[in-house]
């Protein structure tokens, strides 16, 4: 039931919609039907009612007619003038005696007609219990000439029935006096002699009316010309009330209207319904006049009875309808269950699927309808997805395995390349900086530098063809051999190169080769001896800003064939000159329009770099390349190496060292600043340098504090300050998240003010104020070292 009651469920919706539609249609048809049936019944009723009423009137007239025959006959006899008084009276007595319905009879003569001495002469015989008694009516107190029963028939020249009354004897017999005008003919002319009356019992009439059956609770009644009830099932009303008095009592205007019509002698089947007097039930009434005497018959038809059949039909149809609706509900429930049940199962299966349970069984559906086909599709999808995900899992785990191996290989590789700067802080004759950024996969670029003796620095940059682990291994071998061979002092570059080449050619199944530029700088003279085995020509930046290329290729790349490399070249680096080496990852960096960065561009940038340190030069180039290739993935390793010759060093000055440990709370910055200020004052540094140091420290450490930690624990940040005569170096070591400020793209200081971002300025400041800036990630710690020269 819960499922059915679910207000959003299919079953519920169907039930509501279909049910409501069917119910509405059914109700409309039914009401229309009822309306039509009712009209049909009414029509029938009308006919019936009129017939019944006519019938009753006919019978009533028959009864009345037969009763009034007796006085009519007697009047004829009396009009025959030959009778004497005694004879007339005897006839009168006989009239009463022989007719049980006649309770009394009287002949009231015109004044002085019968006897010239008697004004009033009205012999009257009446029944008193079992005897017939005689009375003579008429005297001054009882002036019958003015009474209705005398006056009216005389005027209208015809017999008349009086208003009904209860008998004079005190019984319950309803009586009416029938008055017949009497005439005698004399000389051809008719003249009025008096009235013959007969007090007639209306019992027969009453009996007849009481026997009338109209449906079950219907009835007939009769009223007089004045509306007085002559016959009615409620006996108290007879004679005592008129239809009008009852209409008033009931405050029924319908009844009054009907009464007026009946008294007028109309006949009709009233359209209006009223509450009948006997049972207070809603009824319709038919009426017709008794033409004999102007009385009127009304027949009352209770609505509920004549509508009984229609109402029964109504109830029957309604029950059938409800039963039908109920049945429809059941059918709907059944059908929708057959749809929603599999759908629900599919939905559960889909949820399980989403949770990763691919083995959850989908119940089989044997139906061929849409639900069944959905089921089949779902099962198909489930098995297809299972296979796909399994495949993906295998491939991904294989890929991850490879990637983790590559990661390790790269770490090893990076470990072999010197990345600690300043590399030789104690050597003042030159400044060296190198930078390598491998492409996604393990790269084959390398640079290296090392002293082969006190004075001579060997440096090299190279590029192994291809990528991946074989290239990396090849590169590792190259570096190792180069160092090993160079240990033998006295060897020059070409012998070193040839030895390396020989070694690399052996066992080189993969046909790898490495381009290499190998140079040896004599740090006391500035002389450089170099050999180029197929590598990009390095640039030399003179102190006056002129840029040139060392455009000699001495031999093909190493590892291809055993051949002798031609003799090396030499040139001299003057004080302030810089040699700039790079690999083709720089010159062949692509932008989104597939254009290369190009050697020309490198040359252009180097033109302005004469006064800059190797660090600055390399920073500049790297920034520019990154800018250029934004939006594309790095396709090749980027390596650069720069050496600036500074000439003979100044005399050595002992260095000062100071270490502080700070907790990673921003509030500590102010005390830190005080300590640094004090320290720098002790070391007698200018305020300009002091400001630089403060700024660099503040920017880097606040960066670390704000962005470096994702937990809320206390962390230590170590700050080392070292000072000698011409430089101060700042080292910051923290265990925050890996963050290399060098590779972070500097804030764009050239964009329009409206587009300037607020981020990255700190790092930009630091880089601009530093003369050298190195970063290392070691033992899960960030190590940043800044050198400021003064």
């Amino acid at each position: 039931m819960k499922r059915i009651k679910n207000k959003r469920g299919l079953t519920f919706k169907l039930i509501i919609f279909i049910f409501l539609s069917v119910a509405i249609i059914f109700t409309l048809i039914f009401l229309d039907n009822y309306d039509i049936s009712k009209k049909m019944v009414e029509k029938n009723l009308k006919l019936n009612a009129e017939l019944i009423t006519k019938n009753i009137v006919y019978k009533a007239e028959k009864i009345l007619g037969s009763v009034q025959e007796i006085p009519n006959n007697f009047s004829k006899i009396i009009e025959d003038s030959s009778y004497s008084e005694a004879e007339i009276n005897r006839i009168l007595k006989m009239e009463v005696e022989n007719n049980s319905e006649i309770y009394g009879a009287c002949i009231a003569y015109e004044p002085f007609y019968f006897n010239s001495t008697k004004k009033y002469y009205a012999p009257y015989y009446y029944r008193n219990k079992k005897e017939i008694e005689f009375k003579c009516l008429g005297n001054e107190q009882y002036d019958y000439f003015i009474m209705d029963w005398y006056k009216i028939p005389k005027e209208i020249n015809r017999p008349m029935w009086s208003e009904p009354y209860y008998d004079k004897g005190g019984g319950n017999v309803i009586m009416s006096t029938y008055s017949v005008p009497l005439y005698r003919e004399k000389n051809g002319k008719k003249y009025f002699i008096g009235i013959l009356t007969a007090d007639v019992s209306l019992d027969l009439l009453r009996e007849y009316f009481e026997s009338i059956k109209v449906y079950k609770t219907g009835y007939a009644f009769m009223i007089s010309k004045k509306g007085t009830y002559i016959s009615h099932p409620i006996k108290e009303l007879i004679i005592n009330e008129t239809i009008f008095s009852i209409a008033d009592a009931q405050k029924s205007s319908e009844m009054r209207v009907i009464g007026r019509d009946m008294v007028k002698g109309e006949s009709s089947f009233a359209d209006t319904e009223y509450y009948n007097i006997k049972y207070n039930k809603l009824s319709r009434i038919a009426y017709a006049p008794v033409s004999l005497n102007g009385w009127s018959v009304g027949v009352v038809f209770p609505v509920d009875e004549f509508m009984k059949d229609v109402n029964n039909l109504f109830i029957r149809v309604m029950f059938l309808g409800l039963g039908g609706l109920f049945f429809i509900c059941l059918v709907i429930i059944f059908i929708s269950r057959s749809i929603t049940s599999p759908l629900r199962k599919l939905s559960i299966a889909a949820n399980k699927f989403a949770e990763g349970d691919f083995d959850f069984e989908i119940p089989p559906s044997s139906s061929n309808d849409e639900v069944g086909s959905l089921n089949k599709s779902f099962a198909h999808m489930q098995s297809a997805l299972k296979k796909y995900i399994e495949n993906l899992r295998l491939t991904t785990s294989a890929k991850e395995k490879i990637e983790s191996e590559l990661k390790i290989a790269r770490e090893i590789q990076m470990g072999m390349i010197p990345r600690k700067f300043p590399a030789f802080p104690e050597k003042k004759e030159f400044d060296i900086y190198g930078f390598i950024e491998p492409a996604k996969e393990v790269g084959g670029d390398l640079y290296d530098f090392f002293f082969i003796d006190d004075v001579r620095l060997c440096f090299a940059i190279g590029d192994v063809s291809g990528k991946g682990t074989p290239a990396a291994l090849f590169m590792a071998i190259t570096t190792t051999i180069m160092r090993a061979e160079n240990q033998i002092a006295g060897l020059n570059t070409s012998s070193v190169i040839n030895l390396m080449n020989n070694y690399l050619c052996k066992n080189n199944e993969g046909n790898l080769f490495v381009t290499l530029f190998l140079g040896i700088l004599n740090t006391s003279t500035g002389e450089v001896e170099y050999i180029n085995a197929g590598h990009n020509y390095p640039f030399v930046i003179k102190s006056n800003g002129a840029v040139s290329e060392l455009n000699t290729t001495h031999c093909i790349p190493l590892g291809i064939s055993i051949n002798t490399c031609s003799n090396p070249n030499t040139f001299k680096l003057e004080k302030g000159d810089t040699i700039f080496l790079y690999t083709d990852g720089v010159s062949e960096a692509f932008n989104i329009d597939d254009q290369q960065y190009s050697i020309k561009k490198i040359s252009e940038i180097l033109h302005n770099q004469a006064n800059h340190t190797p660090f600055e030069i390399i920073q500049h180039i790297i920034d520019d390349v990154k800018d250029f290739s934004q939006g594309t993935e790095q396709s090749d390793d980027i390596s650069v190496l720069a050496i600036k010759y500074l000439g003979k060093p100044l005399s050595k000055v002992p260095t000062q060292n100071y270490q502080m440990v700070i907790k990673n709370s921003i509030g500590n910055l102010s005390s830190l600043s005080e300590k640094i200020t004090q320290l720098c004052n002790n070391w007698e540094m200018s305020s300009d340098v002091l400001n630089k140091v403060n700024l660099v420290v503040e920017e880097l450490i606040s960066n670390t504090i704000f962005y470096g930690y994702s937990d809320t624990f206390e962390h230590d940040i170590i700050l080392n300050l070292m000072y000698d005569e011409s430089t101060i170096s700042i080292e910051i070591i923290d265990d925050a998240k890996e963050f290399n400020p060098i590779t972070q793209k500097s804030a764009d200081i050239n964009s329009d003010i409206n587009e300037r971002q607020v981020g990255g300025l700190g790092i930009h400041l630091v880089k601009s104020l530093s003369d050298a800036f190195t970063y290392q990630r070691e033992d899960s710690k960030n190590k940043i070292k800044i050198i400021i020269q003064f």
Partner: protein, 112 residues
Amino acid sequence: MMKITNEKISELLIIHTEGRLDAITSVEFEKEVMPMIQQSEHPVLIDFGKLDYISSAGLRTVLILAKETKKSNNSLALCSLNETILEVFRISGFDTIVSIYPTIEEWFASMK
């Protein structure tokens, strides 16, 4: 993206290359061209007239193909290199490993 077509002119095989020879396309290049070279008993020319770019991986492939032709006592030459690619060959010294001709006609002429 790279496209290769070949033609034979009186038993001399010319392989026309279009597009780029980088780390990705050079694998495909080697796969397609190697059998052609192995099956040819006569000199082979690779036409780089429509080659836009070559990286060290491409150089390596040229080296491998050159070595292959040497094995079968054959010869491999290149022609119609554009200025940049020519410079790459010069700097890397590869112009001494494989013969380079400016046009197909000049190579033909040298065959006589």
